[in-house]
């Protein structure tokens, strides 16, 4: 699966080199941005709400039994901000948005639309990759920020409502605030930015190298999603290691 890493790096380099054209492509970036938002905002909210809830449900009774009820907010808040929201939202976006990007670019490749662009001297990296990567690199951190807040809410709500936990809203957020500072949130958001680059690059690259008809598109989409998720989890380890205080 890693035989394409070299090509991926080259494509990333060419996309970076095209960054000065961002302003020119702003309309396309905006379109992509709203498409990503519309397609995933509701799902991000639902998913993160339940992740927060289940975290509280798993840790709450355990901590309360040992008289550590005041730590529920800390543990839920910390793990959501630094780990769960960035990684799980990235996985969600890889499945929801990355796959769509690969399918779209892949079908453009198969149906010769990319050849047509090249005959018009339009660089596919500028026209297709740059807007998608930029939009994703902006959208995913924003979605993750929302996911962190919603996840906290979900955790707090379950902590309050569940009889075996029964930690008040105030106590939950008091504990959360004492354990999680802005830097922790930024840490998670930064990770998600890196994940966005991974998803965007893998998805566009797989799209561009698609061959062989509709079946080829299906193959590319599967590969893009699987490779994205694997690379997200692996790089998550190293990012965490690097960002460890």
């Amino acid at each position: 699966m890693f035989q394409n890493i070299g090509e991926l790096v080259v494509l990333f380099g060419r996309t970076l080199a095209a960054l000065p054209l961002v302003w020119r492509q702003r309309q396309k970036i905006l379109d992509q941005f709203f498409e990503i938002g519309v397609a995933s905002l509701l799902m991000v909210c639902i998913l993160s709400f339940f992740i927060g809830g289940v975290m509280a449900l798993q840790t709450g009774p355990l901590l309360v039994e040992r008289g550590l009820g005041s730590y529920v907010g800390a543990i839920v808040g910390y793990s959501i901000a630094k780990e769960l929201a960035p990684v799980l939202m990235a996985v969600l976006i890889a499945g929801r948005i990355g796959s769509a990007m690969t399918a779209e670019i892949g079908s453009m490749r198969v149906y010769q639309e990319i050849d047509a662009l090249r005959t018009m001297n339009i660089n596919p990296v500028h026209f297709l990759v740059l807007p998608r990567l930029t939009a994703l690199a902006v959208a995913l951190p924003m979605l993750v920020t929302i996911a962190i807040v919603v996840g906290w809410m979900g955790g707090a709500l379950v902590a309050t409502a569940n009889a075996r936990i029964a930690v008040s809203f105030e106590a939950f957020f008091h504990a959360l605030r004492s354990a999680v500072d802005l830097l922790d949130v930024l840490n998670g958001v930064f990770k998600s930015f890196m994940f966005a680059l991974i998803i965007g690059m893998i998805s566009c690259h797989q799209g561009l190298i698609t061959r062989g008809g509709p079946r080829g598109i299906g193959r590319s989409v599967t590969k893009a999603v699987v490779n994205s998720i694997v690379l997200i989890v692996i790089s998550d380890y190293f990012l965490t290691r690097i960002l460890l205080k």
Binding site: S107, Y111, Q112, D115, A116, L117, R118, T119, M120
Partner: protein, 252 residues
């Protein structure tokens, strides 16, 4: 009708020497040699699978030859900067319209992406080119709403917008009714007369070929079997060429 005195000598000359290409060991182009003069309409005929589309893709730089040379105005196509120096356009066999854009956006794409004209003027040119291929007022349609023949005509409009110096048509009339085919044939000739463009037309359509061609080449299994003026090709002694042209007669 040899080169009518081109109003502007805009077209480029094209020369192909010893062009060879194989895909996975299967030889598709087996040593092609020909020249096309500036402003000439050169028609390439040949059976399905003979390598016509592959040849056009080489001429516009979408495929790289295994061996041989392609010279534009005497300069190798692969040399840096040569492709950007001349305006070239290709009308794909399938049309290859961008499905996510409207018809109007497709036609105006070249001008808009390269910022060659202000938006108002792009809209005007787009409408004018669409009207030229008999599709006035279709700007806001999506390609998926068009028939095969309409897509092909939009693709031609999109190529005309570039005001190319070399234009490659891959089966421009294959999905068209006879009336639309005549419109396209007229457009091919008119474009050549107006801007002196060099045109390569790949076609099975005998009416189109013998109607517009300055010269015709017949390609078979990656080799040129005949090359000459329409009259010379019609009288060509090669039985394969005759078979191909006759078969064309019978089908019509």
């Amino acid at each position: 009708m040899m080169n009518a005195p081109a109003s502007q000598s805009n077209g480029v000359s094209l020369r192909v020497r010893g062009l060879r290409k194989a895909f996975n060991g299967q030889e598709v182009l087996r040593g092609l040699d020909f020249e096309v003069a500036p402003g000439e309409i050169f028609v390439i005929m040949g059976p399905s699978g003979s390598g016509k589309t592959v040849l056009l893709k080489h001429l516009i730089g979408l495929e790289a030859p295994d061996a041989g040379e392609i010279l534009l105005e005497g300069r190798p196509l692969q040399a840096p900067g040569v492709m950007n120096r001349y305006r070239m356009a290709m009308v794909f066999q399938s049309g290859a319209l961008l499905n996510s854009l409207t018809v109007g956006q497709n036609v105006g794409l070249y001008l808009a992406e390269h910022r060659l004209r202000p938006p108002g003027e792009i809209a005007r040119i787009t409408s004018e080119k669409l009207a030229g291929v008999g599709l006035a007022g279709t700007e806001d349609k999506m390609p998926s709403e068009l028939s095969g023949g309409m897509k092909k005509r939009v693709a031609i409009a999109r190529a005309l917008v570039i005001e190319p110096q070399l234009i490659l048509y891959d089966e421009p009339t294959s999905e068209l009714d006879p009336l639309s085919a005549v419109v396209i044939a007229e457009e091919i000739v008119r474009l050549k007369e107006r801007i002196g463009v060099t045109s390569l037309v790949v076609s099975h359509d005998r009416d189109l070929a013998f109607g517009v061609a300055d010269r015709i080449a017949v390609i078979h299994q990656g080799q040129m079997r005949a090359i000459g003026t329409p009259d010379e090709v019609k009288r060509h002694p090669d039985p394969l060429v005759q078979q191909f042209l006759q078969a064309g007669f019978k089908r019509q």
